[in-house]
Symmetry: C3
Subunit: 211 residues, 3 copies
């Protein structure tokens, strides 16, 4: 693969992913009855938190979102929209969930490739792709005082990890950046969409919980 | 503005802010019935957490508090005092809240200026000022198992952000460090004190919470 | 003391500590009814979280666990084992607790020494030793939605801090790495085991909780 090329298209896609994640964070805050600041912080945390976690862990500080004001404006915009129009956005939840699956696919691509750029091996890089995808939602749930949704049976992290593994595997081929992104991200997004559609659940432990 | 000058006065102010924040963290721990270790950790987290978050995000590691033992001793002192004298300190809660407003003003000054020193742009630097001011309290509430107070209508984060914006804006002028600190920090502290006095609340979303 | 020598023996001990901690994290997840992914993440967070916190704070990024695939495989193995055999492992809880005390002793040794290697002073280095020992369990409890066990009277953090202080103090002597590890880690583990055996509790605040 050629070197990572953060072209305009990629940044637009990145911002779109952040926007969708931020909307989901803001809706959680609205439902918890948090104030306007809580809505903005949960929007920002959900949209940017996964990338922050990845950047802090791989040593890429300050994170990209602190070096480009557009990354900060997007969650603010999402938060304000959700604060004002939450009844309408809440009714579109189905659409938000579908968009969220696209954000997930996108984040596992950018997360894995950035980790590889910083010299991580293949297993840690795939893990960082997954962290980028699911980290924001986990921080959102922590701040909102609930056990992370990603732990509660919904099939969310597995597609993120699977897509990241595909991206990392393909990064050693001659395929172009966009081909890899399309295959890896598409794999993650498709799996996630099918899981939503067919109500797939992650397995839970069987047998007595042994106190 | 001339370069940041961490003079003795500034360090004393910094330690005073950490002390007040640490007292508030220790009181939360006492009320939760945590043990002496929980009291010390919540004191340390509340006093130093905002600065730790900022330093990790801007890449200023190890954080200042890990390079100067006085920064570690102050929360220990606050924790021990709160552990022993909490009934008396609890009765002075009003005074603690007022002192806390001064700590908040101070932290948004030091937080914004340090972020600018590390090359962040104006919007991220103001955000880091706010994070320095509110981060410790958010970590305290996370560890104590409650939704961060800063999300629940109390007007706390807005003054911190406003003060940080003032500091960042003035940093491009010829004003001295102390003048900027006084105007920006004073703006934050005054707003916070008036908000406490007049029971100002941050707006909450209106309309049905859309499930 | 001679320079830190991460020999094979040390890595094996480190992986053993991670394994024991990961088992304790996975058991918490099983009892919370989390899905297989939640079990794996809590296993990984508990096993590796303390080291991640330390490495991010002292600026040693990416953390060792992201540079060596064995560190990632161990919690996965522990998580899968706990997922499948949790009724049996749960019955061995007493043994897990004892092994956990050995893990704690080990982590306060490696944590303090790594912090010293990165130039921290004696007080922060001892603090980082404690963070390495207790950080994983604190993150586990945060993600599982409960107040960290380490705050609730069990004598866990104090032995970790005490052992770390011993390690830091001895690091200025001529003693070999292994002697220091044995004395400091042994001190921590012994204290912890006696605390379990005698049901020692950390003191809680006395008097009214002042609202």
């Amino acid at each position: 693969m050629a070197t990572t090329d953060p072209s305009t298209t990629q940044i637009v896609l990145d911002l779109a992913g952040i926007f969708v994640f931020a909307i989901s964070g803001a809706l959680v805050a609205v439902r918890k009855g948090l104030d306007v600041f809580g809505v903005l912080v949960l929007a920002g945390t959900t949209g940017l938190g996964g990338g922050f976690l990845r950047d802090v862990l791989i040593g890429a500080t300050p994170p990209a979102a602190l070096q480009d004001w557009r990354y900060l404006m997007v969650p603010v915009l999402a938060g304000v929209l959700a604060f004002v129009y939450h009844p309408a956005i809440g009714r579109m939840e189905r659409s938000v969930t579908v968009l969220d699956a696209f954000g997930l696919g996108l984040f596992c691509v950018t997360g894995s490739l950035k980790a590889l750029d910083y010299g991580l091996g293949v297993a840690p890089a795939a893990l960082m792709g997954m962290v980028t995808g699911i980290g924001g939602g986990m921080l959102r749930d922590l701040l909102a005082g609930r056990v992370p949704a990603v732990f509660r049976g919904e099939l969310y992290a597995t597609p993120a990890l699977a897509g990241s593994i595909v991206v990392v595997a393909l990064s050693h081929t001659d395929l172009s950046y966009w081909t890899i992104a399309l295959i890896g991200g598409g794999f993650c997004t498709t799996w996630r969409l099918v899981a939503i559609w067919r109500h797939w659940q992650a397995p839970v432990p069987t047998g007595p919980a042994s106190v």
